[in-house]
Symmetry: D2
Subunit: 280 residues, 4 copies
């Protein structure tokens, strides 16, 4: 797979002392080589962040006790995917059981407890049943969401998948939440991934869904904004509550600018919707 | 149209002094003859209720300052519909404008503001547009709701039409709310009617939707529990908030029994879903 | 009471054929003299609106079949309040019963069914009980809302009083909804009024709450943005769903400008929070 | 600390083939000795469950491909707490950062994103700020919730902490969610624990909140149904979505009986609300 180059620059202004968490560094994953640079400045000086591990290779960088000031987070990485092997075979049955259990549960933006009847009514009558053919079900759900949703910034930090179903519109995050809600309701484990997305236009942080089947996790994107096989994983979790690129605990903050880049050498690869794509 | 006979007996126990409102008497409507009896007893004695007019011929009977006691409301009526003429011609254009405005608005259990995109996505692409053929649209929406909803008591006093869409289930009140929400979202004025329903099984108070078109209001019932042309109108409003058969203001109350009857002489008439039925 | 002069200019652009409803004309009320001018233009020409009566003297002006075009609504009025007599005495007991029943019910933005326990827990333990001293209760609730809410534009067309309670912020419409929700939950009938508000800064359409007590309706405004005794009633209803200054049925529309004025001659009167003010 | 003895018997009837997950076994925790027995029977025979690890020592037992049948889960354990040492010192700073990040996030039943303004308005004005004295804040919030909530079964599987705030009532699960929501909103990490609770009356599975401070996690219980220092941890997570004692994936199931026991030898210890209690 090709090399990808990504970067993020986040300018912020702390107006009341706070603690900041960043999820902008590429996840540590088997067979993914990352050469990277990450710096934080506040008040014109470099400041040190503490890194700790989030789930599925994700990494969180925290700046504690940030006094009111302006600052910048700057990240740059060159990624090479050396090894296409799947998690499924290596991680083994117990990890699968854990993930299967976790990613069927309701979460903040994916209240699957409210979706069972609607999902059954819309998708559930097929034979074999949806959960027995998870990848086909994920493709069908993704296509349904793609067809019904307008890509529009109508959501806010309270918008969950039930709101998005009614709104029939949303950005990448909302559409991924709706795919995940319908899949979990059909008994297909599904999770949320924040990614760098070469080809995304306008370029920004992007978000997609992953569904778990017999061969492991596969990636689905109802927005079709970027080819799936060039995506670079940042953070993985139940929904957007787990993957915010910037979290602010206790104080106040304004974002004054974000610039994201993500490229592959040469032309972007095509994305065949019928293909099952694994996100390393 | 045939004679109908209806009755309601409501036994209650006031546990904290309160004011009670009943909407159990048949509405006063043009061409509808009602011979009726209505008595209230509390603590073993007859008590007097005050009647006042609600919208569209509805009548509310209020008992003020009811001390803790057990009581009964007893209603019995014989209804003859003498005159099938429509409201539309008689009430005239201004009443139509008023109703049209009122019954397109969002209400407690019909938050139509949340339904526009979903309704457009599910029904809105037809030509001519749904609002230009209101009765056909009402029939199509009713049929869609009937097909997707299970008749199950999954709702409570907070359940609105958006909840019902996700639950894919509800009782008559919930299904009527969902029909009304979709219709208003498609720009077809729609309202809620509490009725006596000969043939309803199990027998109980029933609720249906009405849609406004060029010939006036027509009645739609996704539950199909009773033939529409035998229904008897009690209360009419925006949604179930306007038609509760018993409202309690300020104190506490237990219902200890309700018995409803509604009959027509001879066999029940058939209900052809394709027919447009006016509810007197 | 002093003369008031008000005006509203609303510029709009219809992008898809629609029907428009305006509620910008001052309500017809006993003892209120209105000298006014109201014109609508579309595509550079005068167009005729149809007026019909809304509740409590409100008037709705409707433009049917407005083709895509730019247009303007222009209203100007001079109001004199000749007569301070109350509705209560004149309208009589039956109207009171009707209003009392109507304005205790849940409505779209005032889901009082969800507020009973919270209101009881926050306000309900007093003796005499809140419903027996409605004006004192309304003053206490208004003061509580004023203290807890920031005046911030955090709401949208889906925001109800429960959302506002959590958000602890909102504009006049939201704060009025929260006052009304708490009052209805305490068994005090309460309604929503859209008004012209001399002194409001920034000048805009304004909204307040009214509470019903033994002397009739009295007006409460948690925002304190304008003296209550200079307000001019436009529309009255259950909540903002009944009083939108512009409703669009079926098509699409952009607002391109609104300019509101409202003045009294000389200095604004003071508003003593302890005073009970009747809005004519 | 005293020995505790606990047991759970869960009888169920599978009506459509499914996969079952049980969280009824006591968590594996440092210094907690557990001697236990766990058996599953279906259709009269013993069946084998697969155990996998959940977070914080929790254990999930899964029965896959359970055909329609009646069955029983039977668990019995004797617990001795040998070692009162805290996690905080041993687990170290990185684990703390991880937990701190995780348990400030919004989750399904704890939509903290909706609680910031309300919590700030109710608790936030103190000096020092609430997050700087997490245990005092947790005690204050617990006491506030205890005072405002009735212990009533008014909730269902969709009820979140915002619903509970309005309802002013709920069972242990709901009250714990509300405590957690207010704490996270005040920047105090908080999580949900399902426990065996000697002394609980009526005896059932119980749920409490934990708050993170400089000395580690401490337990808070607004219901006061059982002394905190006798609780036995089963499952720990963001909210009740992570700790269901029985989850059903894909099929249908009826619970036909649950019997829980939990005892300590001799008299129950007293629970001093002012004491900070660590749950092993």
């Amino acid at each position: 797979m090709p090399t990808r180059e990504v970067s993020a620059r986040i300018d912020f202004e702390v107006t009341e002392a706070t603690e900041l968490e960043f999820q902008i560094a590429v996840a540590h994953r088997r067979g993914v080589l990352v050469e990277e640079e990450l710096t934080f400045t506040a008040n014109g000086r470099d400041v040190a962040a503490t890194e700790f591990a989030a789930s599925h290779g994700g990494r969180i960088h925290v700046l504690r006790d940030v006094a009111p000031t302006s600052g910048t987070a700057w990240y740059r990485a060159r990624i090479e995917v050396q090894d296409g092997r799947d998690d499924a075979g290596t991680a083994g049955a117990t990890a699968d059981l854990h993930d299967r259990s976790l990613y069927l549960r309701p979460s903040r933006y994916v209240p699957v407890d409210r979706f069972y009847p609607f999902a059954a009514s819309e998708f559930g009558t097929a034979d074999p049943i949806p959960a027995e053919r998870p990848y086909e079900t994920a493709a069908a759900v993704t296509s349904w969401v793609a067809k019904r949703m307008a890509y529009l910034p109508v959501s806010d930090s309270h918008t969950d998948a039930a709101d998005t179903l009614l709104a029939s519109a949303g950005v990448c995050r909302d559409q991924a939440h709706l795919v995940i809600a319908l899949l979990r309701a059909l008994n297909v484990p599904a999770r949320f991934v924040a990614v760098y997305a070469p080809g995304c236009d306008p370029m920004d942080f992007h978000a997609v869904a992953e569904a778990l089947g017999p061969d492991g996790w596969r990636v689905y994107d109802p927005t079709g904004l970027a080819p799936r096989n060039s995506l670079v994983r940042i953070a993985t979790g139940r929904d957007a509550a787990d993957t915010a690129f910037l979290d602010n605990h206790g104080g106040s903050l304004n974002l004054t600018g974000t610039t994201i880049t993500a490229t592959v050498p040469g032309a972007l690869p095509a994305d065949d919707p019928a293909e099952r794509v694994r996100l390393p």
